[in-house]
C-alpha cells in the first residue's frame, strides 16, 4: 500500500474509534439531569464527581499504559494541600486558576517521580509509588506550621468561582463546578487516548519490547502519560479541598489508593468510563454499607474485593451480595462469614464451571433471539 493511502486508512481508523456513541451522550445527559433531579443529594454527588476524576486519572496510567500504582494518592494529596494553601494564604483567590496551579504542582511531582516508576517490575512499581505517597504524607506531617500536621489544614476560605458563584453549604454550586471540571477534563482525556499517542500507549501496554522495536519511544511516552495523569489526580484533590474547604493527612492514605483501585475494578479499565461508572457504584455501595454497618463497612468492602477478583465483576458482585444477605439474615459473625468465603473458595472449581455453563446458555439464548428476530424481519414483506 502506498504511504498516503496507509495514512488515510489510519486516520479513518482513528476517527472511527474517536466517534461518540449514543450511550456516551446518554451518560452525560444523565449526569446533567442529576443536577436538577437530585438537589438534595448534591453533597454525595460532589464526592462522586471528584472521585470519578481521580479514578479517570488512574485509568489513564493503568488502563492505557499498564502502570500499577498503589500510591496515586500522592498526587491527589499534593493537589489537595496546594489548593487549600493557595486559598488560605490568598495567593490565588480565584478557584479555577488555583485548581489549575494545584494540578500543575501535582504534575511536576508526577514528572519527577515518573523516572523512578519506569524502572523495575510491577512489584517495584507498587513499592515505589506507595513509598512516594508515604513520603508525601510524612512531609505533610512533619511541617505542621504550614500544613497543620495531624489536625489538618483549617481556616480555608474559598472565594467565589470565576468571581461570581459562591460555594454554598448544600453543595449545589460545588456539584455543578466539579461536574463541569470533570466534563472538560474528560473531553481532554478522550481526545488524548483517541489520538495516535493514545494508540501508541496501548501498544506499549501490550508489549513494551515490540513497541520499542517499531519505533515507539516507550519511556518518553510513559513519562508523558504519568505526568498527565498526575495533573488529573492533583485537580481531583484540589476539587476535594475546595468543596470541603479542608485538607488533612488522610488524603495521602493507603486506603485511599486501595479504594481507588476498587473503583476501577468495579467500573473496568481502559475505556475511560470505567472510573466514572465505578465511582458512582462505589459511592453507593460505600454509602449503603456505611448506613448498614457504620463501624465495620471495610469488612464488606474487603469481601467484595476478594469475590470480584475471584469471580469477575458481575458474578462476584452477585455472590458478594448473596453472602452479605445471608450473613445479615442469619446474623452471622465475621468469622462465620469468613468460613462461608473459604467454603466458596473450596468449591471454586465447581462454581466456576457452573457459571461458565450459565454464560454459555445466556450466549446461546441471545444468539437464538437474534436469529429469530432476523428470521421474523426477513419474513415481513
Amino acid at each position: 500500500m502506498p504511504p498516503t493511502a496507509l495514512l488515510e486508512q489510519a486516520t479513518r481508523h482513528l476517527a472511527l474509534r474517536a466517534r461518540w456513541r449514543p450511550l456516551e451522550y446518554a451518560f452525560w445527559l444523565a449526569a446533567l439531569a442529576s443536577v436538577f433531579l437530585f438537589p438534595g443529594r448534591h453533597l454525595i454527588l460532589t464526592e462522586i464527581a471528584w472521585l470519578a476524576l481521580f479514578a479517570l486519572s488512574l485509568d489513564l496510567i493503568l488502563g492505557y499504559a499498564g502502570i500499577i500504582s498503589l500510591g496515586h494518592a500522592a498526587f491527589f494529596g499534593l493537589g489537595s494541600y496546594a489548593a487549600a494553601l493557595l486559598a488560605k494564604h490568598e495567593i490565588i483567590n480565584e478557584p479555577v486558576a488555583a485548581l489549575f496551579v494545584s494540578g500543575l504542582a501535582a504534575a511536576v511531582l508526577g514528572f519527577a517521580t515518573s523516572f523512578l516508576v519506569l524502572r523495575g517490575s510491577d512489584l517495584t512499581r507498587l513499592m515505589v509509588t506507595l513509598g512516594i505517597a508515604l513520603i508525601m504524607r510524612e512531609i505533610a506531617n512533619q511541617i505542621p506550621e504550614l500544613t497543620g500536621g495531624a489536625d489538618g489544614l483549617q481556616g480555608v476560605v474559598i472565594a467565589p468561582i470565576l468571581g461570581t458563584f459562591q460555594l454554598d453549604i448544600f453543595g449545589h454550586v460545588g456539584y455543578v463546578y466539579c461536574l463541569s471540571v470533570l466534563f472538560v477534563l474528560f473531553l481532554l482525556a478522550r481526545r488524548v487516548v483517541c489520538s495516535p499517542f493514545g494508540l501508541s500507549l496501548r501498544a506499549v501496554k501490550g508489549n513494551p519490547l515490540r513497541s520499542a522495536s517499531i519505533g515507539i519511544s516507550v519511556n518518553a511516552r510513559l513519562v508523558a502519560i504519568y505526568t498527565f495523569a498526575a495533573f488529573y489526580a492533583g485537580v481531583a484533590g484540589a476539587l476535594l479541598a475546595q468543596t470541603t474547604a479542608f485538607a488533612s493527612l488522610d488524603v495521602f492514605s493507603l486506603e485511599r489508593s486501595a479504594d481507588l483501585l476498587l473503583v476501577l475494578i468495579i467500573g473496568g479499565t481502559g475505556y475511560l468510563y470505567g472510573g466514572l461508572v465505578g465511582a458512582v457504584a462505589f459511592k453507593f455501595i460505600q454509602d449503603a454499607l456505611a448506613t448498614f454497618d457504620p463501624q465495620y463497612w471495610q469488612y464488606w468492602i474487603g469481601l467484595l474485593l476478594v469475590l470480584l477478583v475471584l469471580f469477575g465483576r458481575i458474578y462476584g458482585g452477585v455472590i458478594a451480595a448473596a453472602v452479605f444477605g445471608v450473613s445479615y439474615w442469619l446474623r452471622l459473625s465475621f468469622f462465620e462469614c469468613a468460613l462461608i468465603l473459604l467454603a466458596v473458595g473450596a468449591g471454586y472449581r465447581h462454581i466456576r464451571g457452573w457459571l461458565d455453563r450459565l454464560d454459555a446458555r445466556v450466549l446461546e439464548f441471545i444468539r437464538g433471539a437474534r436469529s429469530a428476530r432476523a428470521a421474523l424481519l426477513q419474513r415481513r414483506p
Binding site: 523495575g120 517495584t124 469488612y299
Partner: protein
C-alpha cells in the same frame, strides 16, 4: 550507641522473621501477598489469648502461635489463594488487600481496636549490663530466637531434599515441574511455613512493634521494603535488608527524630534506583 545498634539488630531480626515468608512466596510463585501481615497479626492475637487469658506459658504460646498461623495459612492457600496465582499482579494486589481489610475489621470486632500487650515473663523484662552496654533481655531473646531460626532456615534450604526442591522451584518453576517436583505441594508447604513464621514474628514482636487491628496495614510497608530491597532469589538478601532497615530505622528515630520515617523510605528508593531488582538479585532475571 551500641545499645542503638543492638536494638536495631533485634528489630531487623524481627522484620526478617516476619517478612521472609513473603519473600519466598513472591520469588516462588511471583505472587504479591499484601495480606502477609494479617498472618502475623493472627499469630500475635493467638498468643495473646493463650498467654493472657488461658495462662499458657509464654514459650508454649509462641509455639502454638506458629502452628495455628501455619494451619490458617495452609487453609487459605488451598481454598482461596490457589485460584489467584494465574491472575495478573493488579488482581493479586486487590485480592490480598481485600483480605487485609477483612482481617482488620474482623479482629477489631472481636478483640477491640485498642493496642494490646502480651504478658511476658518477668525473667525477660528489664536490662542486663554486658561490658557496660545496656541490653534489653527481651531484645536479646528476640535476637537469639530469630538468629537460630535464620540459621535453621539456611540449613533447611541448603541441606535438605525439600530445600533443594524449593530452590529449584524458585529458580524455574516450569523446569522444576518437568523434573517431577510437585511445585504446588512445595508451594503450599512453604506458604504455610512462611505464614507460621510471620505468626511467630507477630507474637514475638507484639512487645516492640505493638499489636492492634491495623497491624497488617501499618507494617505492610516494612515487609514490602524488606522484600524489594533484599530481592527474592534467596533468604540472604532479605536478611541483610532486614538488618539494614532495622538499624537505619532505630538509629534514624533516635538521632534525627524529625526525619524518622524518611530514612527507610529514602533507603528503599535509593536502592531501587541503583538496583531495581533488589540488592542481591542475580544478573540474569527471569
Amino acid at each position: 550507641m551500641l545499645t542503638i545498634l543492638f536494638d536495631g539488630v533485634a528489630y531487623g531480626m524481627l522484620l526478617f522473621v516476619l517478612a521472609c515468608g513473603l519473600s519466598v512466596t513472591l520469588g516462588l510463585m511471583n505472587f504479591v501477598n499484601l495480606a502477609h501481615g494479617a498472618f502475623a497479626m493472627a499469630g500475635g492475637y493467638v498468643t495473646l489469648l493463650l498467654v493472657n487469658r488461658a495462662g499458657v506459658p509464654f514459650f508454649a504460646g509462641l509455639a502454638v502461635a506458629f502452628l495455628v498461623t501455619a494451619l490458617i495459612g495452609l487453609l487459605f492457600e488451598r481454598t482461596l489463594y490457589v485460584h489467584v496465582y494465574a491472575k495478573n499482579h493488579l488482581e493479586q494486589v486487590l485480592f490480598t488487600i481485600g483480605l487485609v481489610f477483612m482481617s482488620v475489621a474482623a479482629v477489631d470486632h472481636v478483640m477491640g481496636s485498642q493496642q494490646v500487650f502480651i504478658n511476658i515473663p518477668s525473667v525477660l523484662q528489664g536490662q542486663i549490663q554486658i561490658f557496660g552496654v545496656g541490653i534489653g533481655r527481651y531484645r536479646l531473646l528476640i535476637i537469639v530466637i530469630c538468629g537460630l531460626l535464620t540459621l535453621g532456615l539456611q540449613l533447611i534450604l541448603s541441606g535438605t531434599r525439600f530445600g533443594s526442591r524449593l530452590r529449584a522451584s524458585v529458580d524455574d518453576a516450569r523446569v522444576a515441574g518437568g523434573l517431577g517436583i510437585n511445585v504446588n505441594a512445595v508451594f503450599s508447604l512453604t506458604f504455610a511455613f512462611g505464614s507460621g513464621l510471620a505468626g511467630l514474628g507477630g507474637a514475638l514482636g507484639a512487645e516492640i512493634l505493638g499489636l492492634d487491628p491495623t497491624f497488617p496495614l501499618k507494617y505492610l510497608v516494612y515487609f514490602l521494603i524488606v522484600v524489594t530491597v533484599g530481592g527474592t532469589s534467596s533468604i540472604t538478601g532479605p536478611f541483610v535488608a532486614s538488618l539494614l532497615i532495622g538499624i537505619a530505622d532505630v538509629a534514624g528515630k533516635y538521632y534525627v527524630p524529625k526525619f524518622g520515617a524518611f530514612v527507610i523510605y529514602t533507603i528503599m528508593i535509593v536502592v531501587l534506583i541503583l538496583r531495581p531488582q533488589g540488592l542481591f538479585a542475580r544478573a540474569a532475571g527471569k
